[in-house]
Symmetry: C2
Subunit: 588 residues, 2 copies
Amino acid sequence: MLRTHTCGELSLEHVNQEVVLSGWVQRIRDKGGMIWLDLRDRYGLTQLLFEEGKTAANVLETARSLGREFVISAKGQVIERLSKNDKIPTGAIEIRVSEISILNPAKLPPFLIEDETDGGDDIRMKYRYLDLRRNPVRANLQLRHQVARHTRAFLDELNFIEVETPVLIKSTPEGARDFVVPSRMNPGEFYALPQSPQTFKQLLMVAGFDRYYQIVKCFRDEDLRADRQPEFTQIDCEMSFVTQEDVLNTFEGMIRHLFNKVKGIDLPEVPRMTYADAMRFYGSDKPDIRFEMKFTELKGEDADLTSGKSFGVFDDAELVVGVCAPGCASYTRKQMDELTDWVKRPQIGAKGLVYVRYNADGTIKSSVDKFYTEEELKKWVEAFDAKPGDLILILSGNADKARKQLNELRLEMGSRLGLRNPDDYRVLWVLDFPLLEYGEEENRWFAMHHPFTSPKPEDIGLLDTDLGKVRANAYDMVINGVEVGGGSVRIFEKELQQQMFGILGFSPEEAQAQFGFLMNAFEFGAPPHAGIAFGFDRLCSLFGGVDSIRDFIAFPKNNSGRDVMIDSPSTISDAQLTELSINVRQQN
Amino acid sequence: MLRTHTCGELSLEHVNQEVVLSGWVQRIRDKGGMIWLDLRDRYGLTQLLFEEGKTAANVLETARSLGREFVISAKGQVIERLSKNDKIPTGAIEIRVSEISILNPAKLPPFLIEDETDGGDDIRMKYRYLDLRRNPVRANLQLRHQVARHTRAFLDELNFIEVETPVLIKSTPEGARDFVVPSRMNPGEFYALPQSPQTFKQLLMVAGFDRYYQIVKCFRDEDLRADRQPEFTQIDCEMSFVTQEDVLNTFEGMIRHLFNKVKGIDLPEVPRMTYADAMRFYGSDKPDIRFEMKFTELKGEDADLTSGKSFGVFDDAELVVGVCAPGCASYTRKQMDELTDWVKRPQIGAKGLVYVRYNADGTIKSSVDKFYTEEELKKWVEAFDAKPGDLILILSGNADKARKQLNELRLEMGSRLGLRNPDDYRVLWVLDFPLLEYGEEENRWFAMHHPFTSPKPEDIGLLDTDLGKVRANAYDMVINGVEVGGGSVRIFEKELQQQMFGILGFSPEEAQAQFGFLMNAFEFGAPPHAGIAFGFDRLCSLFGGVDSIRDFIAFPKNNSGRDVMIDSPSTISDAQLTELSINVRQQN
């Protein structure tokens, strides 16, 4: 018997019982003939006691030979501790050890196995199995398990069926790059790994499954950023005979359920915002609404409070737009210079920053005093609904660019003002996305969501006249400025789907070759359907209050797509290549 | 609103309510001015009623334009049926339709969407989304969902954590063929898709996760048989600080839980059999114990009732072994000839079949009366413990071959005698597998389970002296003659793991290059651990009482690894190949 109890469950009620515990040596203190050893497992820590004169000599000797992270098994009696430790559940007891055995010794780990470690990212990735021993990292994965569990419980209750869709599918030209898999049995042909189970879940709707979900791995061969992984996990869902409203209500229910079960938080009703408003008032399709600071336009479609005063920058600008930072009028000149440099960084790309201080004493001071009278600036202050003590920050130029830049500045100010607390959760639906976006480089239209998204019925006429104006029944769920999910009402009529592929530049033959199976399926009685997919890794990291999804993946890859622990990818043998009918190209 | 109710929930309590239903047209009867339409969705069937004179003319006209599998939405009043249908839950009511709309018309399906269909395998695979509409097929996938649900519930309750392990891993030479994935970012290098998460779950044990599980897709690029798929699903589990006994008890608990929850069956305690006994008494490591008919050896290690009577076939045989088929003494000469031909088929490969009829009147008649006296045959009958009316069937030759052949014959007789009822479930543990098996062709030893399996401690000495005799702490769960799961206690010491790789023909460098990450991990405090994996598709097919796993996979591939519905695998573009730094080899 390797253990009778775990290291997290013994308390005063077990006093005098003989127990066996197994686990890892967390730390040892050897002082004045007494040895205290903290034994660790997933469930907690328990203190083992060895005492000269009371503990057998060979047991003492073994105890003194132990190092950190040795795996041991110890038998002994549960006794009450003299000095209790209130910080851990087992802090009232300790084990007077009578027998001990070393199950496996351990080399000194390359970094500390403690909540705060001294190991850098690279070494912790290489020894991921040691990093996973640390409580915060293990807690992340336990949280992930809980999120999955409660997701399934919620959807099962609503009659959703989890269906596994294939991993070896077909490469398609639309969307991100596919990972491909050469087929040995079909030489010269390749499977692709799914970027999402999109077409399969739609086929399940055609098959009458009515409500489908799957927590499923997806794959994108894209250049990686810190928060992207080549393989990632989705909560993938689809429903039949529903409108957009049904989908929004169902998954608002799901997110509320998850917040309640996982975080103990009762979310209020989730507000909704159109894409147009999100862009206009936040310069982003995923606004962080933990704080206000909405955009105010001094010059734009509905206003012009800046032109004709000889300030060329604003006169030439398509848009003059700003945010009001509460209580920041007292920013020093140095702080303003630093902020101006910040918006001029290449990542942001603004040409300059105009500010208006609405001082606590009611006076107004701006960086454009040369061009605008106090009277005129007062109108600005009113437009911003600023309070004395506020600081107005203004950008200008091309409308799209200025909005993007101001979005960054708004978020930065929110952070500086401490308005973006990770424990404060604000969920938002963003609705009415454009169906299409124009790729200037490629000189063609792209589907903003994907080619299966339905235009709004009232906008279908625009498909023939003004593609840029067509809105989709598409929706994103945004939490704290992060897109955690998105979906759409789907096209379910063959003709409309064909028209859509045509708009995206497919010839009828190409469309048929790539997606014929779906369009054919639509001819055999496809129901109206709609769905959504959530980024599961991202959702978990949000619940964990951590920015990086990598911390919520057991064995992540680095930014070059490598698993440095197992050293993958790697070369394969010539025999394997031959069997697969492929060659590796020589690199020049 | 596309529906207020599903097609499976209305009953007399809803009479007079106005409802909206949506679904597929299952069938229409148009007779004497009345139209009855069965509307179908996942939840059931509901009868819609249209009546000349009472139903508006345009609604009647639309109803008459409908065909099978049209998707419609209908509004109407729930009324009590005159002639009730007790066979369906909604059989007491029907809907008097006031409004109807066609949501999507349907072409005539290429086969009947009924429980019994007229479609062949190929056409049903091509139109899988239509086949999935049929109740029995959908029921299979609903069953699968239930098995997954109850598996997770059981393991969650026992503190197992579901952890997702990577799909893009590293190719390893041991085991079956890997599917590989070229890495664009690491030219000339490849990921492999996992045949199982074996090394990752062991690393999770090293990481202290203690109890891990995952319902996970795995991949094997093997030539396919009817019951194999290139991608399949496992219930993958691992535990720390456990003995074999703990694993057996835990997963006996799981299978009992599943039978109870999914089938309503309370399983008795699961019997255990050693591999040696399984081979000796059933000629198989996965005996079907729904029926007895254990092997009896007339000539073997412990007996010789056949030699020296001038019957050369038996005199030259290493083993003479048979089974007693109850009540089959009355088989006609023709039946015996047919059975002899059956065992001589190339798939079985026996040279002949000897039989002994123990007639109901107590007389004995055999095909070898020329060589053996009635006295001698009587001893055979006693050895078999045969009853009057039984038929003894005997094979001989090389021991391994004769056992394999007799296993086939035993199963065939079991089937013919109706002793293999798919609703009768007999679960069995097979234990003490050999650690190694010798590959005659390759002239080396192979791991019978996998290279991470621990030898029995008492057999470790044999690693230096008699490899073929070393038994492993390995176990299989067998249900009705089908292996549904298997696992082992793992090696957790670096030296033993190194020794094992050496035995399997790895040089120390090769072992380090391929599995260094695991052996290194063992140096940092690896706990004793053990695990098991269940074939999830197979388990579901067993619960469904069906032989083929394909029926329990939403979108299976055919025997050439093709998905004929989406036409995958397929060629990819030259641009893709270039990006991936690979060429397709020209076929000669």
